[in-house]
């Protein structure tokens, strides 16, 4: 595996993931007090990573290819989702006195991310018997 090429795919995927995350943040629920857009990107990114991870378990799948995997997993999925912004937004809620909303943000994020990844894994595995990529 060529390290330089893998890095390039990671950089491209992350740039795309970051742009998409910024787009969701810019165009979704302007002026909302609850950080909905971060919850949405973190849930969708967790769904996608589960699906890709399931597909990648089949060596003949294109998702098992190192460059495509690098582009999608540490690239698009990781760049689209964000932990730092989630932590900062949670802290802002907790500090502004919206303690219940802050705790809800943590709880709902963790529950939805795990459920989305589990769903993604299940969906990725189920389709594998139908056809190979």
């Amino acid at each position: 595996m060529n390290q330089g090429i893998t890095s390039l795919w990671v950089a491209l995927g992350t740039a795309l993931g970051g742009i998409l995350r910024y787009g969701v943040d810019r165009f979704m629920v302007a002026g909302a007090t609850f950080p909905w857009s971060t919850l949405v990107v973190n849930t969708l990114g967790s769904l996608l990573i589960g699906w890709v991870a399931a597909r990648a378990t089949t060596p003949s799948s294109r998702f098992a290819h190192a460059d495509i995997h690098a582009f999608l997993v540490p690239g698009v999925c990781a760049g689209f989702t964000t932990f730092s912004v989630f932590s900062h937004e949670t802290l802002i809620l907790l500090r502004s006195g919206a303690v219940a909303a802050g705790i809800a943000n943590m709880t709902v994020t963790v529950v939805l991310m795990l459920a989305a990844t589990a769903l993604g894994l299940a969906a990725g595995r189920r389709n594998m018997t139908d056809h190979t990529d």
Binding site: S46, P74, T109, L121
Partner: protein
């Protein structure tokens, strides 16, 4: 607005590259079911975001700098999707205790790191 999207793309690409290589470097050395690499980048990224938020102020004050460094670099340096997949993998391999520790430690470290970053730049207690 186009400038901000470009700034996010550049910051994200750099953040993603740093995350990818730092995570791999740490995980190669620790070799544990729990990914200390992911825990480290998430904590470090949250700390850096706290520092930047304390320095730059809100994202509205300096939109391009915030887009590059906060939304772009810090946003993409950290990850929820990998954290989720790794936690689920721990649970599916019957390491329930480790999975819970991974959830709790990441949440607490993330909040603590933002608080520390903000405190160091006078952005709050």
């Amino acid at each position: 607005m186009i400038t901000e999207f470009v700034a996010v793309a550049v910051g994200s690409a750099l953040g993603g590259l740093c995350r990818f290589h730092l995570t791999a470097w740490i995980d190669r050395r620790t070799h544990t079911p729990l990914s200390f690499g992911t825990l480290a980048v998430n904590t470090l990224g949250a700390f850096l975001l706290g520092l930047l938020a304390g320095t730059l102020g809100g994202t509205a004050d300096q939109p391009v700098a915030a887009a590059l460094a906060m939304t772009g670099f810090c946003g993409s340096f950290t990850t929820v999707s990998s954290w989720s997949l790794q936690t689920l993998t721990l649970a599916r391999t019957h390491r329930f205790g480790t999975a819970l520790v991974n959830l709790a430690a990441t949440l607490v470290a993330g909040l603590g790191a933002v608080i520390l970053g903000l405190a160091m730049t006078g952005g709050g207690p």
